[in-house]
């Protein structure tokens, strides 16, 4: 489904991805963990062509998107949905207009159909009666749920989540986790989740990959990760300040 081969990316002198290899399994949820500022979001943005690597391949269903021109890349992007860290809702549009945006952009649906689809997508993330609200009137958790409704509006095959539970209280964190699990199961989609919330990753991930110093140092099931003896993973999962991960 998604295969990253020998990815390299630097910003100025800082090397963020350093020969990274990763394969994302179809129909599963893969969680990518790693420290803050360690390049997880950069990695996610490469998968959808928002950033281009200096070297390496990004294969989506066998097509290398690093070589694609805008129009062909947009065709690939239609397979994706993405929930951004702060939801990235268009703040000049209502909730309904936000969710309807991809439908209006890429389908020939009539207004009535669009209204019904918007209501359906909002219902599937547990929201009703918020259609006419502006994003600024919503809480953080609601914004993320609207963001997810927009991300799944076109029924994509892959949904990317950039730190979906950051900044939420424990109850809302649990609600969003359940939503990711349900969405993945009900729509039978491939999910890639960026997170550093240890509790969440074991709850939602079928596979967990650890990004450290620009490379994936471990990629396995939650059980395999828990059993790992790699000192970086042991320290990260324990949240200890003693170990190879240096605090800067």
């Amino acid at each position: 489904m998604i295969k990253l081969v020998d990815l390299h990316k630097s910003f100025g002198r800082q090397k963020v991805l350093d020969g990274l290899d990763l394969e994302i399994e179809k129909g599963k949820t893969t969680v990518i963990i790693g420290r803050s500022g360690g390049g997880k979001s950069v990695l996610l943005k490469h998968m959808i062509g928002l950033l281009r690597p200096e070297q390496g391949q990004i294969l989506i269903d066998g097509t290398d998107i690093t070589k694609l021109k805008d129009r062909a890349l947009n065709e690939i992007r239609k397979k994706f949905g993405m929930l951004f860290q702060e939801a990235a809702l268009f703040d000049s549009m209502t909730v309904a207009e936000n969710v309807a945006f991809p439908l209006r952009e890429h389908t020939t649906m009539k207004e009535k159909e669009i209204r019904e689809t918007v209501a359906d997508r909002l219902r599937s993330v547990g929201l009703t009666g918020v259609e006419e609200k502006m994003p600024s009137e919503l809480s953080g958790g609601m914004r993320k749920r609207v963001g997810l409704a927009r991300a799944i509006a076109l029924r994509p095959q892959i949904v990317l989540f950039d730190e979906p539970t950051t900044g939420l209280d424990p109850v809302m964190t649990e609600a969003i986790n359940r939503l990711i699990i349900d969405t993945q199961k009900n729509l039978n989609i491939t999910c890639v989740v960026i997170s550093h919330d240890v509790r969440s990753i074991f709850e939602i991930g079928h596979r967990i990959a650890m990004l450290y110093e620009g490379k994936i140092i471990e990629n396995g099931t939650p059980e395999e990760l828990k059993a790992s003896r790699n000192p970086v993973i042991v320290q990260f999962l324990a949240g200890s300040i003693e170990g190879p991960i240096r605090i800067m």
Binding site: K45, D91, H106
Partner: protein, 259 residues
């Protein structure tokens, strides 16, 4: 010698940076042109921007236009009185407004009001990942965000200039005729004698060029914002400064070509 080469090095870098930025703005303009004629046309977005740039700037344009016309009449009167040519005040005010002050002042006001808002709005969209969200949804941000703003700038600044020209002449008339006592008939006759249709037309063409400059620079600066709230502030300031300077410089060259 070292200090001299250091200064030369910095100057060279500054010139290169300026040329590079100008190139990027021109590339953005080419991209705007390419997307402008590609359907579907986002009429609702365009009208929304036209309302923001045009309708909501009317008050400030009326105010600046009127007072500029008034002060021109006042200054002109004192100058012309020295050789008993007070009757020329009307024509001078009208010429000054239509050729120069109408387009320039209007576009500077719109830069301050709408150009800055374009930079701030697009800059905020950039730092809150809304522009990335457009890319992810396979929607082109130039078409959705920049084309409507540029169209609004090019169409509305000339229309606002008409308002500014008119209110400026009206202000001049008020001061000239009602305060300074110039004969009303002579005031108006001199306007029609001195101002040709070409003066008004060329002024409006200039205004359209300024509308293009201010909207393009506002959008460019906003679109390329980085660095959170501080970045949005920086983009907004740079947009206003660069657009204002560009308007004043291009005004000279446009005038040299047209008149």
């Amino acid at each position: 010698m070292n200090r001299f080469s250091g200064a030369l090095d910095r100057l060279g870098r500054a010139v290169l940076a300026a040329v590079e930025e100008m190139g990027k703005i021109i590339l953005l303009f080419v991209s705007v042109l390419a997307w402008m004629f590609r359907p579907p046309f986002k009429l609702r977005n365009i009208f929304k921007q036209m309302e923001f740039v045009g309708v909501k700037s009317i008050f400030v344009v009326v105010l600046t236009g009127t007072f500029t016309g008034m002060v021109m009449a006042l200054q002109g009167y004192h100058g012309f009185r020295m050789f008993s040519a007070e009757s020329l005040v009307g024509g001078t005010v009208a010429l000054g407004m239509t050729r120069e002050l109408g387009p320039v002042l209007t576009s500077l006001m719109v830069t301050a009001r709408a150009g800055s808002a374009m930079a701030a709005e697009l800059g905020t969209m950039r730092v809150t990942e809304q522009i990335d969200a457009l890319y992810v949804m396979a929607a082109n941000p130039v078409k959705h965000l920049i084309v409507p703003r540029v169209i609004a700038g090019v169409l509305m600044v000339p229309l606002l200039t008409v308002v500014s020209d008119f209110t400026g002449i009206l202000g001049g008339y008020f001061v000239g005729v009602h305060i300074l006592g110039i004969n009303s008939g002579i005031f108006i006759k001199n306007i029609t004698r001195l101002v040709e249709l070409n003066d008004i037309y060329n002024g409006l063409v200039k205004a359209a060029c300024f509308g293009l400059i201010l909207s393009l620079i506002g959008c460019y600066k906003g679109f390329n914002t980085y660095g959170g709230a501080e970045g949005v502030g920086r983009a907004t300031t740079e947009a206003v400064v660069l657009a204002s300077i560009s308007i004043l410089i291009s005004d000279y060259f446009l005038t040299a070509i047209m008149f």
